[in-house]
């Protein structure tokens, strides 16, 4: 692992903490599903933490992101709080969207998260439009459009990348290649080289190890700075892996990927374990410090979920509210 220039101990520990927060949130979300306390399904981000954290740590609060159905990681990384997130997952009034969006539609406007999206690739236009706003309104903010390898099959993405390139918009297309679109390996769905598709529009494209938070963050810092400087758009493939199934109910997965493959990623490529080991080796933190970070976060998360479980559902009068804005 290699640091970027502005990687001081505080920044590095915050990255560790943010990755642990995502993993902890997802562990509890999975427990909520397994104990039938959560309505519906959800899509776990576990395994991909270094992508969301490495990128969002390079962004300011006023920068925008758009997210996906597998969006809890982006949401946490962009600054969201556990209490409002768990409340949203449970359909409670205190949730970020008053319980109306749920797991697949959490939006946290105050932190620049324009929302998760349940249509694969569906937010590519929104992200590009946010970048157009920044340019038109003279803001120096950057938008990151998160999507998975599955979205590379959607035509919308190519339409908006073309326009972003024509208009030099400050947007970074972040393709999280976790190898599987639902239950199918990407090699069966994507011809050629993913990066080359962006390069065909004249967009500078990069590939990075999505399990290495420092590598992701180093690249993200460069691209964000360049995008602010009107050198965008950019495209990045982040090679990563999701530990759980497509969603929490996708338990038997051997027909599309082996248990050995899953074990390999968890044992050898885990972004939190590896970064933790590096922090210790570099004497930035001790093993005890990291244990304490994990325990504190688990305690915070437990308190938040306890609160959310006891929180009120929205009143019936809410069903007809917010269809139209005033």
């Amino acid at each position: 692992m290699k640091k970027a220039e502005n990687h001081n101990a505080e920044n590095l520990l915050r990255m560790y903490r943010q990755m642990v927060r995502i993993r902890t949130f997802e562990d509890i979300a999975n427990e909520l599903y397994l104990s039938a306390k959560m309505p519906g399904l959800t899509h776990m981000y576990s395994g991909q933490e270094a992508v969301a954290v490495g990128i969002c740590e390079a962004l300011d609060k006023t920068d925008h992101i758009t997210s996906t159905h597998r969006g809890h990681g982006h949401c946490v990384a962009k600054g969201a709080e556990f209490k409002e997130m768990f409340s949203e997952l449970l359909g409670k009034e205190e949730g970020y969207c008053r319980g109306k969006g749920g797991s697949m539609h959490i939006a946290d406007q105050d932190n620049g998260n324009l929302g998760a999206n349940a249509i694969v690739g569906g937010s590519a236009g929104i992200a590009t439009g946010a970048a157009l706003s920044a340019r038109r309104l003279g803001r120096d903010s950057v938008t990151v459009c998160f999507f998975g390898d599955g979205a590379m099959g959607q035509g919308l993405l190519y339409e908006v990348m073309n326009m972003a390139a024509l208009w030099k918009l400050p947007v970074i297309y972040a393709c999280e290649n976790n190898l599987y679109g639902e239950y199918t390996h990407m090699s069966e769905m994507a011809a050629g080289d993913l990066k080359a598709r962006a390069e065909a529009f004249g967009i500078e494209a990069f590939e990075v190890d999505g399990q290495d938070v420092l590598a992701v963050n180093r690249l993200a810092q460069q691209l964000v700075a360049r995008a602010r400087n009107h050198e965008g758009p950019f495209f990045v493939t982040l090679n990563t892996y999701r530990y759980h199934g497509h969603h929490v109910g996708d338990i038997n997965r051997t027909y599309y990927r082996s248990k050995e493959e899953e074990a390999h990623w968890k044992e050898n490529r885990d972004p939190i374990t590896n970064f933790g080991a590096w922090l210790i080796a570099e004497k930035i933190a001790g093993a005890d410090d990291l244990t304490s970070v994990r325990e504190t976060i688990r305690q915070e998360a437990d308190e938040a979920v306890e609160h959310a479980l006891g929180a009120a559902y929205p009143p019936a009068t809410d069903v007809g509210e917010h269809v139209y804005a005033d």
């Binding site: 969006g101 406007q109 999206n117 992200a127 157009l132 706003s133 326009m163 917010h322 269809v323």
Partner: protein
């Protein structure tokens, strides 16, 4: 009062709103120098420049999606969708994204955008450039839908649409772009959800949308020659729909014919007729009549195309039959 064309009225509305509010901009295919195939936007790029009259590639879902994102982050885009038929291409961005964002975010995000497009057959443009598809988007909660029936209406409704904080789809009848009507020089807005009683009458209510308002007015002229007094109501917006004015009129006349250029089945005529049946049933002296476009793809041949849409004659015939008590259907 001066008379201007519907095309000029739209152009003026956009120019006025863009002068008033820096965040308003327009994007679409061939909107700048070309001013659209209908020349509706001619001159705007000269005044506002190519950043605010933004030519896009032929990528309807892409530029509509960009408009949604721009609307969520501080701009007020007007999307120019060259033909109403292309609305099928943008359905995800319009119906899954724009329409639902405010609700899904619990009211935190808003999408103040306008999608301008058109409707209307009999231009000899065949099945993919002639459809009237406003019922499709009127079905989706979160969208507002305006159907101007004249130059005056087009200007006032478009200005209101630009100032609305929701996604608004406005369908102009492409055959009416050159039709002139009195339009005041001074500024005016037409509020949404307020129907216009175009002509008062006693015997039957003709509820028409878009260019079918003209058809209804001509039908009313024919009926007047038969001593039948027809009231003509223009809902102006079908979402929100001014149910009170429609029901008030029908309760007065006891008879209703609903005329709209969308396909008749599962369409606007069905919606309005069923609301009348539900809420004014005991005031009715005849079954509510629906007249939409035939349930066929719009044919090219003039000999066939003209058969597909309601005409003043067919509307007068149907309304006259309702008044005379001649409407019988086999059970």
């Amino acid at each position: 009062m001066r008379e201007i064309s519907l095309s000029q009225a739209v152009n003026e509305a956009i120019a006025e709103e863009m002068r008033r509010d820096e965040t308003v901009f327009l994007l679409g295919e061939d909107v700048a120098e070309a001013g659209t195939p209908f020349k509706v936007l001619s001159g705007l790029v000269e005044e506002f420049g190519p950043q605010r009259i933004l030519d896009t590639p032929i990528s309807e879902p892409g530029f509509t999606g960009i408009a949604v994102g721009a609307a969520m982050t501080g701009l007020r885009p007007i999307v120019d969708l060259m033909f109403g038929d292309f609305i099928f291409l943008v359905m995800d961005q319009l119906c899954n994204q724009a329409a639902k964002t405010h609700y899904m975010s619990g009211g935190k995000l808003t999408v103040p955008m306008v999608l301008r497009t058109n409707l209307g057959a009999t231009r000899r443009s065949a099945a993919q450039h002639s459809q009237s598809l406003h019922a499709l988007v009127a079905h989706i909660p979160g969208l507002k839908v305006a159907l101007p029936s004249s130059a005056y209406e087009a200007k006032g409704l478009l200005k209101t649409a630009v100032r609305d904080n929701n996604p608004v789809v406005i369908f102009e009848d492409k055959l009416m772009y050159q039709d002139k009507a009195p339009v005041p020089e001074e500024e005016y807005l037409i509020p949404f959800g307020q129907a216009n009683i175009v002509r008062e009458g006693r015997d039957v209510t003709l509820i028409g949308t878009s260019s079918m308002v003209q058809v209804a007015e001509e039908a009313a002229d024919i009926l007047a020659g038969q001593n039948i007094s027809a009231e003509v109501v223009d809902p102006r917006t079908i979402v929100p729909l001014d149910e009170a004015t429609i029901l008030g009129s029908v309760k007065k006349t006891s008879r209703a014919v609903v005329i709209d250029e969308g396909h008749q089945s599962y369409g606007v005529t069905a919606e309005i007729a069923s609301r009348i049946a539900e809420k004014a049933f005991y005031h009715l002296d005849a079954p509510v009549q629906r007249m939409g476009a035939m349930d066929v793809p719009i044919p090219f041949s003039p000999a066939l195309e003209d058969l597909t849409v309601p005409t003043p004659q067919s509307v007068a015939e149907r309304a006259g039959a309702a008044v005379r008590g001649e409407l019988f259907h086999d059970a």
